[in-house]
């Protein structure tokens, strides 16, 4: 699914400039803990989150996230928008909650790109 199509599915609004809306989204991941995202997300996923600080964009950049969706109509602060514009990552806000967003995107055919974190090195368990 392209980012532009995803925006339609979730009644979303694009917040920043400079991102490639033709970029292919291969699946989704929803989380508010950035360490969880870094541990579990696979490349080219859309990240659904309620967290709005610039670390969301940094996390997305490190983990090769295709687009970021802020849930429950949240709007990120200026620093977050500026960083996303600079790094060319699409920021989208949607009026729906996390639960409904996951449902809508899953129904539209997006698989989960969230991996279980319990398969890490066994000596750390």
């Amino acid at each position: 699914m392209k980012v532009s199509e995803l925006i339609r599915v979730i009644n979303g609004k694009l917040i920043n400039d400079g991102a490639d809306l033709e970029r292919e989204v291969k699946g989704g991941c929803g989380a508010d803990l950035m360490s969880d995202v870094l541990a579990s997300i696979q490349p080219e996923a859309v990240l659904l989150t309620g967290l709005c600080n610039p670390q969301v964009v940094r996390t997305a950049q490190m983990a090769d996230v295709a687009a970021i969706v802020f849930v429950r109509g949240k709007n990120p602060p200026r620093e977050t928008i500026e960083l996303a514009t600079q790094e060319r990552i699409a920021l989208i806000t949607s009026p729906f909650g996390m639960f409904e967003l996951c449902g809508r995107l899953y129904q539209a055919g997006l698989p989960s790109l969230e991996r279980s974190v319990s398969d890490g090195p066994s000596d750390l368990e």
Partner: protein, 335 residues
């Protein structure tokens, strides 16, 4: 596509400048003569309108400048042609129906000047003239779009060249062991810039020819280490990345407060972070476990009140990348 040129009395500060897109910049950088169509189809004032129609049809154009003795004297557009057809006057000369007061643009003008005219006048094409007023080309909105797209493409190529140069950095240097060392100073509690070092490191690795998988693993590991320095240290710390053709060695070190029980700190879910840190999405006790997952080798040395040194290594000659669940491209390693 239409740029928003600054009004004359407003100074552009950094804040405004950050919001200018590359396309807008290009509209100021590119000159009209770089994007125009050179040697366009031209008409003479004596040309019969029937022949004008035929020429438009054959050349698949919807307008052309009228030139006499190298000087631009008018232009015929669709509107003029329709006017002529309504009068059933196809045997008339072009001079009878052409628009005489033609808006023009100079070849040396920046593209943004032409855009301004297109926006304010609704004309479809602009004859392009040189300093002596001679016609040198014609410019449509389509020419501008194509020109901007080509220029953006060139931007991408510049990055490619940069990448190519960097990826061959080690080739011509002879030594027993060559490496590139990057150092970043990390300030404590600087959440606004948190991740900037990791971002630069990831970009550097990609330019050096590392595969996206290697760059991603390295980026995630360094990012967690960087956030740890920001969250936990008293006076910040240093990230040092040593890049060699066959491995990347990363160290994150600080001078306090130190970790009392390293084994406990490594346990997923264990955290000493404050509620404030957790609200930022960090301090879930996953950081060190995440790092262990991304690197091939990891060592923590810590002494309370002295400091902590976290050493990480990623080998570039391995077929399988550890912990990421997919294999890295062999040919993608730094060459």
């Amino acid at each position: 596509m239409t740029p928003t040129p600054p009004s004359k009395n407003v100074l552009i500060n950094d804040q405004v400048a950050e919001n200018i897109t590359r396309t807008e910049e290009l509209a100021y950088e590119l000159r009209v003569n770089e994007v125009m169509t050179s040697s366009p189809k031209i008409l003479s004032p004596e040309m019969i309108m029937r022949d004008v129609v035929e020429m438009f049809r054959k050349a698949r154009i919807s307008g052309a400048p009228v030139v006499q003795d190298e000087n631009l004297v008018g232009i015929i557009s669709m509107e003029d042609l329709i006017h002529c057809l309504c009068q059933s006057d196809l045997d008339a000369q072009a001079s009878k129906y052409m628009t005489r007061n033609v808006l023009t643009v100079k070849g040396t003008d920046p593209v943004v000047e032409a855009l301004k005219i297109f926006v304010s006048s609704k004309v479809g094409r602009l004859p392009v003239i040189d300093d002596q007023g001679r016609l040198i080309g014609i410019l449509t909105k389509g020419d501008i779009t194509r020109g901007l797209l080509k220029a953006l493409q060139r931007d991408i190529q510049v990055e490619e060249i940069r990448k190519y140069r960097a990826s061959h950095l080690f080739e011509d240097i002879e030594s027993d062991r060559t490496s590139l060392i990057l150092r970043y100073n990390i300030k404590p509690r600087d959440f606004t810039h948190g991740g900037a070092a990791s971002s630069n490191i990831k970009r550097a690795l990609l330019r050096l020819g590392a595969s996206p998988q290697i760059a991603r693993r390295c980026g995630i590991a360094v990012y967690e280490a960087e956030m740890n320095l920001i969250i936990h240290t008293l006076r910040g710390g240093v990230i040092r990345v040593e890049i060699e053709p066959n491995r990347i060695s990363i160290e994150a070190y600080d001078d306090g407060p130190g970790i009392p029980d390293v084994e406990l700190a490594m346990k997923p879910g264990y955290s000493t972070a404050s509620e404030e840190i957790r609200e930022l999405g960090f301090g879930a006790g996953m950081g060190l476990a995440n790092i262990a997952r991304c690197v091939d080798n990891m060592v923590i040395e810590s002494v309370v009140d002295k400091g902590t040194r976290l050493k990480m290594r990623i080998n570039l000659d391995k077929e399988e990348s550890v912990g990421e669940g997919y294999s890295s491209r062999l040919d993608g390693g730094i060459s």
